[in-house]
């Protein structure tokens, strides 16, 4: 394998590992916040959406020369689902920000 590509794979795996740890924590904490701290759910959703969007933009427009994701059907599927996931989060932000909250 080309050493440059190998370095890019290595960086992508390192970065993805850190991101996955944060995602796991987010997935555990988010239902708790939605259930018991609805007042702050809006801000947490905005933060998560911003993070997902920033990661997506940085991967394709900023870090494109530094990282390269390995080829594979599961990785392609995740890449395909990323925009859908981001649009869903943006929708949730709008729902939580502009629609009245009866439970608040």
């Amino acid at each position: 394998m080309n050493p440059e590509i190998a370095t890019q794979y290595y960086f992508a795996i390192k970065l993805t590992t850190v991101r996955l740890v944060v995602i796991v924590f987010g997935l555990v904490a988010y239902p708790v916040i939605l259930s018991w701290f609805l007042k702050y759910a809006r801000y947490v959703t905005v933060a998560l959406t911003a993070w997902a969007l920033i990661m997506y933009i940085e991967d394709y427009f900023v870090l494109y020369s530094m990282i390269e994701y390995p080829q594979g059907s599961s990785i392609d599927a995740v890449h395909l689902l990323r925009p859908i996931f981001i649009v869903s989060l943006i929708w949730m932000c709008f729902e939580l920000t502009f629609i009245a909250q009866p439970r608040e």
Binding site: F11, K14, L15, V18, Y43, V46, A47, A50, W51, I54, M55, E58, F61, V62, L63, S65, M66, I67, T97
Partner: protein, 163 residues
């Protein structure tokens, strides 16, 4: 009608018009001194960072490891410096109009945190802290900046009832 009477009439008209405007001004949210100081610190940090980037880009300062910059760091700093500067402008406009400031400070917090983590992961192996003193100072003071962003989101008053 004498000149004095005309002036008095004009002043009276002006004051009457102003009295309509006064209640609108009265109900504007006034932010605390802490908010103003924190906003100043945030502006200063970002502007100094942009200045540092311009100095490095123009090769106007020494002490930077050139190999480290060649690894792609400069192109990444280029994009990030521009994005953060644009974000600062939007944030200042938002603070002036008092609309969506909390959301913007959270988004900037996430952006700065993400960029700090990315830089730490991708570039930690290329260079030692002493080899890039200016960037290191900027990176090491990042936690303080992040604290400022969270603090300003907390002390910001959205509505008149908060003021």
């Amino acid at each position: 009608m004498s000149r004095k009477e005309i002036i008095n009439a004009e002043i009276g008209l002006l004051l009457r018009d102003a009295s309509d405007a006064l209640p609108k001004v009265k109900y504007r949210t006034v932010q605390s001194l802490t908010f103003k100081i924190l906003l100043g610190i945030i502006n200063l940090y970002i502007l100094l960072g942009f200045l540092l980037y311009l100095l490095v880009k123009g090769s106007l300062i020494d002490g930077i490891n050139a190999d480290f910059l060649d690894q792609g760091y400069l192109s990444i700093v280029n994009t990030r410096a521009t994005v953060v500067l644009v974000f600062l402008m939007i944030m200042n406009i938002s603070a002036y109009y008092n609309y969506g400031f909390k959301h913007l400070s959270i988004i900037l917090f996430i952006y700065m945190l993400n960029s700090a983590i990315d830089t730490a992961i991708l570039f930690s192996g290329f260079s030692q802290i002493a080899e890039r003193p200016y960037f290191s100072v900027f990176q090491l003071s990042r936690p303080l900046f992040l604290i400022c962003l969270i603090w300003i989101a907390i002390v910001h008053k959205d509505k008149i009832k908060d003021a």
